[in-house]
Symmetry: C2
Subunit: 179 residues, 2 copies
């Protein structure tokens, strides 16, 4: 039942944005009694938080190509696809995080989980001698991904397919890894 309800949240969100998202519409779309949805998720904030928490439950693992710059490229390509999908659940959830404190907190937890899983990219690179052992993994990962969020979420630039590649290469070079 959770799967249908959370899928309905995503569908409602990409269709009408945060403003159109109501517990009743989600219940109707999911074919679940509204009282059940209210009891378990309470409100729209609770639904959004659970969409993100469900995302963190999955078995996603970061790319493992054998080279840091290629790993960052592959990671950025995934992120680019998620942010430029039309409609994009990720973009809708980010927008919702400016409306609901609960969604903002869930998004923070989600990113913490994802960036945490990605730290292994930097650790493996250090193990291969591509980077010093004491490299700040989070700093490398943010350097690679931040330009994508900046262009696609904040600046609302037209999507440029060269962007994931460029940002990954710039981040790798910033840490002395250039091929």
């Amino acid at each position: 039942m959770r799967a249908q309800v959370l899928e309905a949240v995503g569908a409602e969100l990409v269709e009408g944005g945060y403003d159109a998202l109501t517990v009743d519409a989600v219940a109707a779309r999911a074919g679940v009694h509204r009282t059940t949805v209210y009891r378990r998720w309470r409100d729209v904030g609770g639904l959004l938080a659970d969409v993100l928490d469900a995302g963190a439950d999955d078995d996603w693992t970061p790319p493992d190509t054998g080279a840091l710059d290629d790993d960052l490229r592959a990671l950025n390509r995934e992120l680019y696809a998620a942010l430029t999908a039309r409609p994009s659940v990720t973009a809708a959830l980010i927008a919702a995080s400016f409306r609901s404190a609960e969604a903002a907190e869930a998004l923070r937890r989600f990113w913490e989980d994802r960036y945490g899983r990605c730290e292994v990219l930097v650790e493996r690179a250090a193990g291969r001698g591509e980077l010093p052992r004491d490299t700040d993994a989070r700093r490398v990962l943010i350097a690679a991904t931040a330009p994508l969020y900046h262009h696609l979420v904040l600046l609302r630039s037209d999507p440029d397919p060269a962007l994931p590649e460029q940002a990954a290469r710039d981040a790798a070079r910033a840490f002395g890894v250039a091929r």
Copy 2:
């Protein structure tokens, strides 16, 4: 009169966020007749757009320290101060851009203006031989500033005073400028 009204918008926005922002409250705070405000700015979206357009009218110029990495550091320190001010008009305007299409468009114009003015940093660095002549100025600027927006606006990380410095240095290194 424009100055008082726009100042009142900023004050209302940082006090209560987008949800508390109304034309009537702005008119009352500015001591201007509400009909006048409605006639000139129409609605909240119009007010927000004008706050941003007024920001683009100013005579702000980017830092000029004589070295690219120091210029980027100085730029990032300004941005960090704006994003971590409590309350922050910049952060409130970004949040509002997810609510009002007019505010989003005005924010896009504002950033276009600001990044446009900053391109001279990269041109001067190229003139000094720090960078190749064909360096993509926007790409250097986004590499430097995006991590600040990512941490402070999206990830909502606790402000880290080392961040402006680190992001500027990483961006400079990405483009082969390291001191």
